[in-house]
């Protein structure tokens, strides 16, 4: 019971930290192609605890991000929910993969996220640069192994 509580507390704190990282001001050049940190942390938490951190977490984190980024409510919530659903479908396979394979599967999983956000941008007439979005996804794939190891270290230290 205590372990389950710890899981929720650590995951929520990690997600809160990721939300702050997501809105942290950065120089203009990196700003437009920053990786979706909150989504990456969410993916990690779901991979680690698929029974506890699930679609509801993805939906609520997306809504919080929408409120903070002054975007139409539901925009990020929808993209995050689709991505986390894919993780919940394939987590047993992804967990067993090597680092390189993990990077490749993250790329595959981020493609629906990329497509759904692009589709929504065009429906809501939000101006966007497709190259920047593509770069942000490539950056996410590049930082994924180190982020994964860092998050695993934090998780193992504080949930056991």
């Amino acid at each position: 019971m205590v372990v389950i509580n710890k899981i929720y507390i650590v995951s929520t704190l990690l997600l809160l930290f990721a939300i702050i990282l997501n809105i942290l001001p950065l120089p203009n050049i990196i700003d437009s192609c920053r990786p979706p940190i909150l989504l990456l942390v969410l993916i990690y938490c779901t991979l680690a605890y698929p029974e506890s951190i699930n679609l509801a977490y993805a939906f609520v984190s997306g809504l919080i991000l929408d409120i903070l980024l002054i975007m139409p409510l539901g925009y990020n919530a929808l993209c995050f929910t689709i991505t986390i659903y894919l993780i919940m479908m394939y987590y047993p396979q992804i967990r067993l993969q090597s680092n390189w394979n993990k990077m490749f599967s993250l790329l595959l999983i981020l493609i629906p996220f990329f497509l759904s956000s692009t589709l929504m941008n065009s429906i809501l007439k939000i101006n966007y640069n497709i190259v920047d979005v593509a770069i942000s996804i490539v950056l996410s794939v590049i930082i994924w192994p180190s982020l994964f190891n860092m998050l695993r270290f934090i998780r193992q230290k504080y949930t056991q």
């Binding site: 939300i19 702050i20 997501n22 809105i23 942290l24 001001p25 950065l26 203009n28 700003d31 437009s32 920053r34 699930n54 679609l55 509801a56 993805a58 939906f59 997306g62 809504l63 929408d66 409120i67 903070l68 980024l69 002054i70 975007m71 139409p72 409510l73 539901g74 925009y75 919530a77 929808l78 929910t81 689709i82 659903y85 919940m88 479908m89 929504m120 941008n121 809501l124 007439k125 939000i126 101006n127 966007y128 640069n129 920047d132």
Partner: protein, 273 residues
Amino acid sequence: MNNNLHFRQNHFTLIKLIIFLIISMYLIYEDKELKLGNEVRNNFSHIIQPIYIVAESPLKLYRNTSLYIKTKQNIIKENNGLKKKVLVQSGIIQQIPPLKEENKRLKKLLGSSSSIDSSKILIAELIKVNLSPFSNKVIINKGNNNNLFLGQSVVDSFGVLGVISEINKNFSVVTLITDAGHAILAVNARTNKRIVLSGTGDNRKLKAKYISLNEDIIEGDILITSGLDNVFPGGYTIGEISVIKKKLNQDFLNVKVRPSSALSSNREVMLLW
């Protein structure tokens, strides 16, 4: 048995996914104009503002530290530069009252009413957090407590910045003039012709619309606010014409304008009444 459990879990997950997708789509449909989000932000502003402040704190810390370690010599140099600037600008300001009087007298002769001077100015600080890179919005640290109103114009020391589009308790959202959904009525300072400018979503350019092929317009023309749109007071600089392209198969000129305000780098802005 195990397989069955696995199947059940997948089944529930799919149902959950469909429910969340329906809720998200409904929310997106309802919040196209950001009204629902505005209400939420207004009700939870006491929670949201601290998050913005925490996110902004590393930048503030960096700025304060760099200010602290600035050498005395640099500060003296900067101070001397600023003194010179003040001297030059106060010289220019001295010419304004007689010009104003002359303007009033000429307008009286012409029979038109003189433009209203904005009497109150409030300085606000930008809260530098990263919003969506394509949204062209910024957050300022003044809100309901400072008697702001929706549609209030915001300028910086170089020119027009935007209008207030959302007011919360302690912070407000400013839509920049470069936002794709924003338009402004400008006047060419050289020819006095009116021009409609609309945002492109790119912070570095605005688009001038409906300019006929034989219009008297050249690159470098300064555009100022007309004061006719009841949003911006007249006479503030918007930007200068940077590119004019003429295509034979089009009815209008393709004109791009470079905004003069420092849209992506300023720290303080002025609110006008």
